[in-house]
Each structure stands twice: as C-alpha cells, then as structure tokens.
Symmetry: C2
C-alpha cells in the first residue's frame, strides 16, 4: 500500500488536496480541496444524502449554523468534558497530548484515562519531553472547541461546533412538528465541524476543520428493537475486532439494540457498495473508558490505513442525554406525545451514525490508488459514482477539435467532463487514469465516416465503438454498471 506521504504528494499534484495557505507555510490541521478534490468530496456527500435522507421516508435533513452560543455547549457537556489531557514540558514549553506520548513511548492506550491515571503512567514509565528531555508540568485539561466573540459588546462567547449533532437536538421539536414526523425517525445533517486538536496529524485523518454527515435516529425508549429493516441486514458478515483479536462475525452477533445494529450495518454497506475492499474494513466496539460523555455504547467502522486500523465511522447510542440536557437548560420541554403508546416521552437516540467526510475521502483514495507498473502510471480505481470526472473527451489529433468539441458539448450538461487535446492519446489516457476518470471518448479519423467514437474503460483498458447519436444514453448505462461489451462492438 502507498504511504500516507506518497498519497499526500499525489493528492497535491493532481489537485485533490492542498494545505490551507500553503504559500505562507500552511496551518497545521487545515486543508483545501483542489479542483478534483472538491468534486470527489461533493460526490461522497451527495451519495450519503441521496441514500440516507432523500430516498428514505424516515429521515429528513437540516443544515445548522457552525457557530452557536455558549449555552448550547454547556448543555451538551462539551464545555466541561470535550477536552484532551495536555502535557507541557517545564523546560522547552512544548505542549503534547498526554495519550499520544504515552502510546508512542509505552504502547499503553491512555485515551479516556483520568489525570490521576496519566500521572501514574508518567511516573511509572519515567516519561520525559520527547524534544528536550525535560520534565512535565501537572497535566491539564485542554478544551478542543474554538472560541470567538460575537457582536460589538465584549464577552458574548460563541463556539464553533465540535460536531454537527447539537443543532439537530436544539431544533428537534421544530423539525418533529414541521416535518410531521413520527417515531422512529432520523434527522440528518452535513457540514463543517471544528476541533482545536493539540497535535493534528495523519493528513486528512485528524484535522482541526473537517466535515461530517451525522444522523440522530430517535426512537421510543422502549422500542429500540422495533426495527423492520433488521432482518435484511442481520446476516451481514464482517471482520470484528473485540479489543484483543479479530474474527468473523455477523450483525446479529453484536450486543446492540436492533436499531443501533441496523444503522451500523447500513453504513458498512455504504462503504462496501462504493468499492472499499472488504478485507480492509472491520467493526470494533469501544470499551467503556473510550466512550464519549454522552454515549451508552459505540461501534466504529475501521479501515486498514498504512498507519494502522483507524476509525472512519463512529456509531453511538446517545441515549436521551442531549434532549434531556437541552430541556433542563433551555426550560423548553423536549419530550413528545407518542400517539401509538399514548405516552409522553423523551425520544431516545438509538443510533448516531457519525461519518467524517475527510476520513471517508482518505479511505476511498487509499483503496483506489493503484500504481500500475504495466501501464506505467497510477490508476485511481474510484467507483464511478465517486469519480470527480465521469468522462474524458479527446480528439485524436488537433484537426478533429471541432468534431470532438461537439461530443463534449453533448455530454457536459449531464456528466462532469474534461476536454483534453494536449499530448499523445496515451499520455491523455494516463492523465485520465490518475484522475480516476472511468470512461474516455476518442474522436478519430473514422468518426466522420461511421458517425461513431471509441469509448475506453479505465479499469480494463478495453475499448468499444459507439454511435455518436447514442453516446449520452451509452455513458449513462456504463455509469450505472452496464458491461462494456453490452453497449457496442469491442475494438481489437
């Protein structure tokens, strides 16, 4: 597998990812999407939205502000609990995340451990500052939220949200009423979130500004197992890591409510169907120490990156925590009257699928990247639905520019296309391979006679001859998965 450094270099060269403000040396944890990156990113977000919001009767979307007043995060517990324990070297003043240095030096997993536990580990292992060998000051809690002041009056504090979830909770009653929903149902949101990580790292993996797609799926607290769709996914098989070893398991083996297991399975399927390798995916369960302050249980979907198995999707049972908290602090009753049971209840979040867009992006890129020695270029095997550009259009020689442009014009309103007339056709195929373009159309000298062009499939490099008049319909079929040999005559 390609290393993270090689992938980052490739992503820069091809226009997927740049460091923010790179001309000024960048700012750690902030990235910009380039001309291909923005299309891939949008495709990931749109696939999630179409599948989990628009095509479902039981989920609606919202889109909340990124900044909210302090009281929201007081209620959610983030003001008090959304912290990492930080160590500061008393000599060189370097600041480090305690669990990171502990894991690096001792291989102890210290995520979620208390300040006292951290102190003990430091003493027992005689840990020193990795930069200068100095000792550490007392460990400190460092809040990960970015703070700002709103308005001209001082002291009006607001925070950039550390997760999209909270505006789903604060708007819960409005959405429930106005979208005329009935339990169980979900509210989804795509958008940016911010975490002032002490040490951002691993490229897109741990950023300070990132995007999420989250659903809060609300149920009657007594009906966490009333899930009609469960039977369809209960036999789904996957690699399961229990904290000690990895084994095969089925969804029905998980100790989780049916709704929780259902949503976990739906996202696992999302990754599989969009092409991630099954052997590089696994499901793990959080141990109690690692659970967020609001969660009763949490599963992750992990991907095998070159830097290890890492979370690309988190899926928590958030109980009634958030709605209860917001009821208390806002003095607005967030409970609802359930028509079916005639009970007044606070809805229970049986599942919160929390999907980092950047992490999905990274997993798709690693999985797609193929340094094809035979072809002599990199081939990006992205699923056609995710491919930033769907079709390349090439005139064999510049003399055929007019004819090729006409084909480009037929396609560009429906599909994202590139038009490329520079260099040999081989060079143009290579460039398209590297951008993950699934199909390329070449207009040649025969095109005028037989009113046809050649379509080349990136994966197989096979080519087929297709009538220009049928090109739009043909591309549509190919993008939907039709086999190349079924749309025209194979070229030898």
């Amino acid at each position: 597998m390609v290393s993270i450094q090689e992938l980052a270099t490739f992503c820069k060269k091809k226009g997927f990812i740049y460091r923010n403000a790179e001309i000024y040396g960048g700012m750690a944890g902030f990235f910009d999407l380039g001309h291909l990156g923005v299309e891939l990113n949008n495709n990931i977000k749109q696939e999630l939205w179409k599948r989990f919001v628009q095509a479902r009767e039981d989920v609606v979307g919202i889109d909340g502000s990124l900044m909210s007043p302090e009281i929201v995060f007081k209620a959610s517990g983030h003001l008090e609990s959304f912290t990492d324990i930080m160590l500061e070297c008393s000599k060189c003043k370097k600041k480090i995340r305690a669990d990171e240095i502990i894991e690096e030096e001792t291989h102890i997993d210290a995520e979620g451990k208390s300040v006292d536990d951290i102190l003990t580990i430091i003493k027992d292992n005689k840990l020193k500052c990795p930069s200068c060998g100095g000792g550490f000051k007392e460990p400190e809690h460092f809040n990960l939220m970015f703070k700002s002041e709103v308005g001209a009056k001082e002291g009006n504090l607001a925070y950039l949200r550390p997760e999209t979830a909270q505006s789903i909770f604060t708007n819960f009653k409005l959405v429930y009423d106005n979208a005329r929903m009935k339990l169980p149902f979900g509210i989804a949101q795509t958008g940016k979130a911010f975490r002032n990580e002490i040490s951002p790292r691993d490229f897109l993996f741990r950023c300070r500004e990132f995007e999420q797609f989250e659903i809060e799926f609300f149920c009657h607290p007594d009906k966490l197992n009333d899930c009609l769709g469960y039977n369809k996914i209960k036999s789904l098989e996957f690699n399961y890591f229990d904290g000690k070893k990895q084994k095969k398991a089925k969804i029905s083996d998980l100790k989780a409510s049916k709704w929780h297991a259902y949503w976990l399975a739906e996202f696992y399927r999302f990754f599989l169907e969009l092409g991630l390798s099954k052997d590089k995916l696994r499901i793990t369960k959080h141990n109690k120490e690692k659970l967020a302050h609001y969660a009763a249980a949490c599963f992750d979907i992990e991907y095998k990156f070159p830097f290890g198995w890492k979370e690309i999707h988190g899926n928590a049972d958030r109980k009634q925590f958030d709605l209860t908290q917001h009821s208390k602090l806002s003095k607005n009753d967030m409970s609802i009257f359930d028509e079916e049971t005639k009970q007044k209840i606070v809805p229970y979040v049986a599942s919160e699928p929390s999907q980092g867009i950047g992490r999905a992006f990274l997993a798709f890129m690693f999985d797609a990247y193929d340094d094809d020695k035979k072809r002599g270029n990199i081939v990006l095997h992205l699923h056609p639905k995710l491919a930033p550009v769907k079709v390349g259009v090439f005139p064999l020689v510049n003399k055929l520019d007019k004819e090729a442009k006409a084909v480009y014009d037929m396609l560009k309103d429906e599909f994202t296309c590139i038009y490329d007339r520079s260099g040999s056709v081989g060079r143009r195929y290579a460039r398209a391979d590297e951008a993950g373009v699934p199909f390329c159309c070449t207009i040649d000298f025969d095109s005028q006679k037989d009113k046809s062009i050649t379509i080349r499939d990136k994966n197989s490099t096979k080519q087929v001859r297709v009538k220009i008049s049928e090109i739009k319909e043909t591309v549509r079929k190919l993008l939907e998965g039709e086999k190349l040999e079924n749309v025209g005559k194979l070229v030898k």
Copy 2:
C-alpha cells in the same frame, strides 16, 4: 407583497428557516435551515455549480478552509480595511453602526465615508443615541472578522474568512498548474463565510454566518475585452439604476470590460431563468465611495424586497490586487507565463461574481410566495429545479396505502418525494402547495383497474391521468418543462 415578518413566520412554520439555538432565545445573525430549507438551499448551490463550474470548460472549483492564518488577511487587506465605523453612546454604552443611524435619521448615505465625515454629519445633524438620547464617543473602526486562536500555544491567531475568495487566490498557482488551465479561466467556490456585523438585520439578508458562491475570473491584463460569449449577451435588456433614477438599459450600455459585463449578464440570466420576476430585478453600479478596498468597479444585481431594492449579487473588477498582495507577503511569485503572448504577467480578475446563497434564497422565496385567496392557502411558485420536494405521493384513502407506497418506491430514488396519507386529499394538496411541490400523484380506486394514477400540477391545479409504468419518465419530462397536456389525458 408579503412582509419580511410574515415570510419569516411562514419559513419557520413550514420548516425552511429557524433561528439558531432558538430554544435559548437565538443568537442574532445566525440561522439554521429546516427540512425544506436545506433542500432549497442545496438546489440553489447545485444549480450554480452545475451551470457555472461543471458545464464550463473554463471554470474549475475548489473548496477551502473556513479558517485561515492572520497573514492571509493581512495580505488581502481585510485586517486593516474590513471595518465598519461604530458609534458608542457615552451614557448607555449602546453600540451602533454609524452609517445605519445616519441613514435612518438624516437619509444621508454614509456607507464608505471616513471617520471625519461621520463626525461632521453627527455634529451638523445633532445626532444622539436613539435609545437614551446620550451623546456619542469618538467613532471607532470595528473589524468585522471573527477571530480565534489555533493550537495549544497562545497568540496563534486565525480568522474565519469574511469571503470565500481568499483561498482561491492563495491556491491560484496550484490550481493553474494542476488543472492545466489557460487564461482566461475562473476558479469557483461555494462555502460559508462570516462577518461579525454590528447589527445583523432583515432576516437572512444581513447575517453573521452565511454562504457564498464566488468565481474569480482571471484574464490577461491586456485582454479584458477578449470575450467570445459577449455577443450573445450584449443585447440583454434590464432595469438599470444609475444612482439617481431607474431606466431601461442593455448590457452593451454598461461602462465595463466585456468580461465583466459578460459575467454580470450570466448571473442576471441565472435569476431570470430560475423564475425571478424581471420587474423586480435591476442592475446598479457602485459609486467610488462604496467600492471595497480591492475593487476598481462593481455592479450589483438588486431585487425589490419589501424593505427596498437590495443587493442579491455583487460583481467586482478586482484588478490584480489580491495576487499582487499575496506575491509580496508570501514571497511566492504569483505571476504566470502566458504562452500566447510570451509574457510573464500577474493575472487580472476581470470579474468576481459574488453570490450570497442566503440572499438568493430570500429573493426566490419572496418571489415564489403567493397567498392564493381562491385556493385558500399559500402557494409557493418555486421553479421545479429549486423545489425542495419534486413529487408528492398520496393514497386517496388509507386502504390504498400499499399501492401508493409502490409508486413512492418507484420514484424516491430519482426524485425527492414526500409520502402523505393524512387528512383529506384537498388538505394534502394545500400542504404540498405550501412546500412548493410542483407535482402530486394520487392513487385512487380506479388505479388498480386502469393501472394509472392522477398527476396534479401545482401551478394550474390541472390533472392528468398517467400509466403507472410510465410514471418515472413522465415526471422526468414534467420537471424538464413538458406541458401537462402532452404527457397524458386531462382529467375533467
């Protein structure tokens, strides 16, 4: 026309717009999009992206971080110049934007005036605090950028961007090289921006957090008039306001470079083609005092809101200002070698179309809102491309639930649908009208016999009988603008 207060109430009731953190009393200038609002907003953004990025060979997109280090905004001039002049009452400490109170009390347009001019106007007109009648302290410059600190070390300042444009400039060379562009070409971006307005107002019109779609269109500085598309738009007619009176004008009447005029016309057409009333649109030119610090000239497209003619689109000639500044401060040469002229040049931004998504949203909503006394309900005449929900599916009675669900399932993967089985069909049509649903399908007792359903057109309330097997194709045609009577037999 409906008042802004009525529209805000309607937007809340139907699930278009909520105040952020409303359960806590909200935070001025921050709004959340509800379940219909998010779809309308996404449709506006997608229409812009498809039309001005994906379907064009000469524009590519990016998507930059919302937060950038201080140096970026030092270079762009925002740190020094992106300020409003603020007045503080020496008695009650109330803070007000100077130009706002001056306009309200004296009808003098003070936007862009200097501190000295403001002082003179205050003295001449004996202006006092509108709340308590107290006098004002010395006017102060108030910077509109939200500030935050990044990382665990203190003093590492970053700002939330006040416009999307800057990451287009900082990434200019990377995009130019990696997307293999040639002058003239544009780089586009959709995303959030933030301005700490002293007094946010007029609902979505002046917010502290908002979305923009911006293009920076780069030209050779000597070729601002080499615009092939100009001939197609030069005869376009519109209402023109010259600062004193409104008259009819053509694009070719504008004193602007051809590329600048071209892009202004393209966005004017965007609004027209998506249904805004021509008589509520006009183009104005900024006078010199109102120009932003980076601009040589600027046109606005204005919409006639109930609170007056207001900018919904700004279109500036930004010269070579930003690339020159970033070259200086970053010591990275932002000039390029132009193959055609064999010259090394700093590209010139002939046009920066700057489109506020919230302002477009507001204009589309005002224009679409129709309190139809005959029907007895509000009808939202949104263009089908913008409609949050494309199709409603109703069983005439609950007994037909299974049959109706089958139709819903056929449609939901391709179109955003709602399924509604509650209340009379008339009530359901009314609800759909209010959500701007262009077409509703009703499954009735005859459906089993004739394998057909009724499609009702929101605008005309006419109905047509259509075969279930052809429903998908029919809806597709209707959404593309086909007339109702051409897709089936009109029902009397």
